[in-house]
């Protein structure tokens, strides 16, 4: 009962032991072979030590979630065994260095194979240095699963190239020895196999943050100011790494206040501008968010959520900032909030956020989280279609239009219009010399306290939301229209909920899944339409208070029949969702 190309592998160890690079290397080798990959990372808020893991799922079919059931555990330390051995299914195996002394009681030896491999020994013998034990381990893994070694070799050549041929060769030798060890001694009695697809299609494996950045630069974003904060930092790091190629200016600032204010300044001057942060840093941006709202400055803020409140769980995933970002900032001003749920949605959010922010001249907050910052997914390259990315600037007055203007003094930056959007010119042109301010102002931008003017400006600003509401991404529905059970979620739970929906349907529980991408202005009509049809609704969120459910209620009155909430810092696997749903509706699976 050999099973081909359907496996979950977890690699665990201390920070600094190379878990991440090993995982990434194996992922690449599998992707090269045309397999679909899902790569989950977990690490602690420390630089060395502690417990980290990288979990790889590989399949011939598209996958969007990890599984709670492991077929293979690669243990670089004891803790990995203690923590994760119980996740192995019957017949699963643990690969570990023969020198590792873990508590055998942690393992159900009847159920699980123990593969003590001479990893350090191979590395030492072949390359004279046990630092390459990880390479040996990857070799063993390939050997046991029968995955063609040439794919591993290619990855090694690529990854170690800049370290010189000697390093490449040493690693190649080590991986081969590992492979031989695995293939010779353990392949026969291990039932999960990996093999490249014929004429393997080359697909992209990347994180949602990476995809977001690609959408953003394609939309013309050229300024990114930020203060480092996990898990938001991967944005500015990407932008910085690509600054040379795409003429991007990135600026690490003294704090988050400065980060958003520089972005506002640059946006005011006409450059599409981005800042990124996490909850704590976003808190510090709150006052400036209102300034962007009041001055009608388009600016995009990526708020990558993590476990809160306060410093909370800095490297763990959670979705606790939906209501906070919708209501952040005193006073009332319009904003956009979107929460892409996977790599492709993030790519689209990358350009959509800039287009909507500029068309409606308001800040756009993109809510992501730890999962979207670090989890790798496979997409079809053709789905990331740059030719479809359009730059939409709305009521933007170009230099040419300004040149053509005959009158001076007529430009009204905050003109009251039916749509609420006022034609926008950037400073620097003699025909559009103007002031704007966070104080209430008249159409010209001068401070006023005049009640009718105030009301007109307030109405105008808030009116923009109605236009925006027409343009936001509508929630998507996955699964049969006439389901008995409707799961409702937002953001990064997308993948697990989608696969759980498929599992439930496969088990005969007719289920569909309603997924929100854009959350503010809230798609009320679509929500009402869903509730008009849905039989039993369950919201699933990674927070304590059920913030999406609250938002649905306040915006539409719709109340789900059940809520599943998780706030321990860990993501839902597809099985977690299935189990929680069954428990919620009293189905014993």
């Amino acid at each position: 009962m050999v099973q081909v190309n359907d496996i979950n592998i977890k690699m665990g160890g201390e920070a600094g032991q190379g878990v991440e690079s090993s995982g990434a290397g194996f992922v690449r080798a599998l992707a090269k072979g045309g397999l679909y990959i899902y790569g989950l990372q977990d690490y602690q808020s420390r630089i060395r030590g502690g417990h980290n893991f990288y979990q790889i799922r590989a399949s011939e079919h598209p996958i969007s979630s990890f599984s709670s059931n492991l077929q293979m555990l690669m243990a670089f330390d004891n803790e990995t065994v203690t923590e994760h051995a119980h996740e192995l299914v019957e017949g699963g195996a643990i690969i570990f260095d023969e020198g590792l002394k873990f508590n055998r009681a942690d393992v159900d030896a009847g159920k699980v194979k123990l593969i003590a491999a001479p990893l350090k020994k191979i590395a030492k013998e072949v390359a004279g240095d046990d630092i390459m034990a990880n390479t040996a381990a990857l070799g063993v893994l390939a050997g046991i699963t029968g995955y063609e070694i040439s794919f591993m070799e290619d990855v090694i050549r690529r990854n170690f190239k800049r370290k010189g041929q000697a390093v490449v060769d040493a690693n190649l030798a080590v991986v081969q020895r590992g492979y031989a060890f695995g293939a010779d001694n353990h392949a026969a009695d291990y039932q999960w196999k990996l093999q490249p697809m014929p004429n393997p299609k080359q697909r992209m494996v990347l994180t949602a943050h990476q995809a977001f950045c690609m959408g953003a630069v394609a939309a013309g974003c050229r300024f990114n100011a930020a203060y480092p904060m996990t898990p938001g930092t991967t944005i500015i790091e990407w932008m910085t790494a690509h600054a040379g190629k795409y003429d991007i200016l990135t600026k690490q600032t003294e704090d988050e206040l400065s980060a958003i204010l520089m972005a506002i300044g640059a946006a005011h001057a006409g450059v599409r501008s981005l800042t990124n942060t996490s909850g704590g840093g976003f808190d510090l941006m709150t006052e400036a968010l209102g300034l962007a709202g009041m001055t009608e400055t388009p600016v995009v803020i990526v708020e990558a959520q993590r476990g809160g409140p306060s410093t909370g769980l800095p490297t763990k995933t959670e979705q606790p900032d939906l209501e906070p970002v919708i209501h952040a900032g005193h006073g009332e001003f319009p904003r956009l909030v979107m929460a892409p749920g996977n790599v492709l949605e993030a790519f689209h959010a990358g350009y959509r956020s800039f287009n909507l922010a500029e068309k409606y001249q308001m800040p756009c907050i993109v809510l992501t989280d730890m999962m979207l910052s670090t989890t790798q997914e496979t997409i079809e390259p053709e789905d990331m279609d740059f030719s479809q990315v359009k730059v939409e600037r709305g009521e933007y007055i170009s230099k040419e239009q300004l040149d053509a203007m005959t009158e001076e003094w007529t430009y009204l930056r905050h003109a009251v219009t039916p749509s609420g959007v006022s034609p926008r010119a950037v400073p620097g042109h003699p025909k559009a010399v103007y002031i704007t301010t966070g104080d209430e102002h008249d159409e010209r931008g001068y401070i006023t306290e005049d009640p009718p003017t105030r009301v007109a400006q307030m109405d105008k600003r808030m009116r923009k939301l109605e236009g925006a509401r027409q343009e936001i991404a509508k929630p998507t529905l996955h699964g049969p229209e006439d389901a008995d059970l409707t799961l409702i979620g937002w953001g990064s739970t997308y993948g697990a909920m989608k696969m759980a929906t498929d599992i439930l349907n496969a088990e005969g529980i007719k289920t569909n899944f309603f997924h929100y991408i854009d959350l503010w202005p809230f798609p009320a009509k679509e929500t009402e339409a869903l509730f008009a049809k849905a039989k039993h609704t369950i919201t699933i969120e990674q927070n304590f208070t059920g913030q999406l459910a609250r938002l649905m209620r306040v915006e539409t009155g719709c109340v789900p029949n059940g809520k599943i909430l998780r706030y321990d810092g860990h993501p839902f696997s597809q099985e977690d969702v299935v189990a929680a749903v069954k428990k919620e509706v009293n189905i014993n699976g």
Binding site: A243, L261, G265, A288
Partner: protein, 310 residues
Amino acid sequence: MADTLVRPTTGQGIMMVNKVDIKMYQSPEKSTWCPGCGDFGILAALKQALVGLGLAPHDALVVSGIGCGSKLPHYLRVNAFNSIHGRALAVATGIKLANHNLKVIAVTGDGDGYGIGGNHLIHTMRRNPDITHVVENNQVYGLTKGQYSPTSEHGYLSSTSPDGSIEVAINPIALGMAMGASFIARGFSSDPKHLAQMIMLAVQHKGYSLVDVLQPCITYNHVNSNEWYKERVYKIEAENPNYDSTDRDAAWQKAQEWGTRIPLGVIYADPSRPTYEDQVPLLQRGSLLELSERAMRSDYDYESLKAEYM
């Protein structure tokens, strides 16, 4: 003022230098300042300086915070962004990075610039973007009705310090020296001609330039009045024509002067330090605005990005 100081800037301006006159800077708005407020002198000096530099209103962009003094940009016609309390320098930096053709001038109060805005201040100083920072230093919180400010002197009486402030006042000149500000001057609102010269020098200086301006608040600060300042100020240049503003040690000594004698003039200038923008290779090819506009016309190759992930 010396003619050598005055040279027309390039910028995006299409106006000719000889066309710039002070009337172009006339705002339609009436000022809300108390009659007699020192801010009037600063406004006059700023206009004078802009005209003196041959800048048209669209060549410059004035960023301010919140406070009496920060209302200034409403009272001259110029590109302006009247931001939030304490944050002008951060907004100004963003604008400068986005379009370094604009002459960016930040105008803040002392509370604004030295108090709540302190973190942006110190980090902007060491970054050295080409921004001129004019601080309307009335040693009091004017707009909120007279509380002591970071430059209020020890013992200053106010509603939040009825027994006298027990904080040591900030010395912005010394702070600038310590943080590597590349140009530091002090002016006085009651001498707008000298002040205009300081602002012109500051704007011409390439890098962060601080112009700390002594400004009487006739309504709330009854200690540091016009007379109080007049009795104490003197011009460095007049007293010592050989004063070398590039000499760090001399400047540090000068920075300590306060109390009976207060120096006016350029206290420190390091014309050799590169600006932040000068050190960004990208910006040598044009303004970010131009690059961004090019990007929006989409003549970059994005497709090749995909290969990174395959």
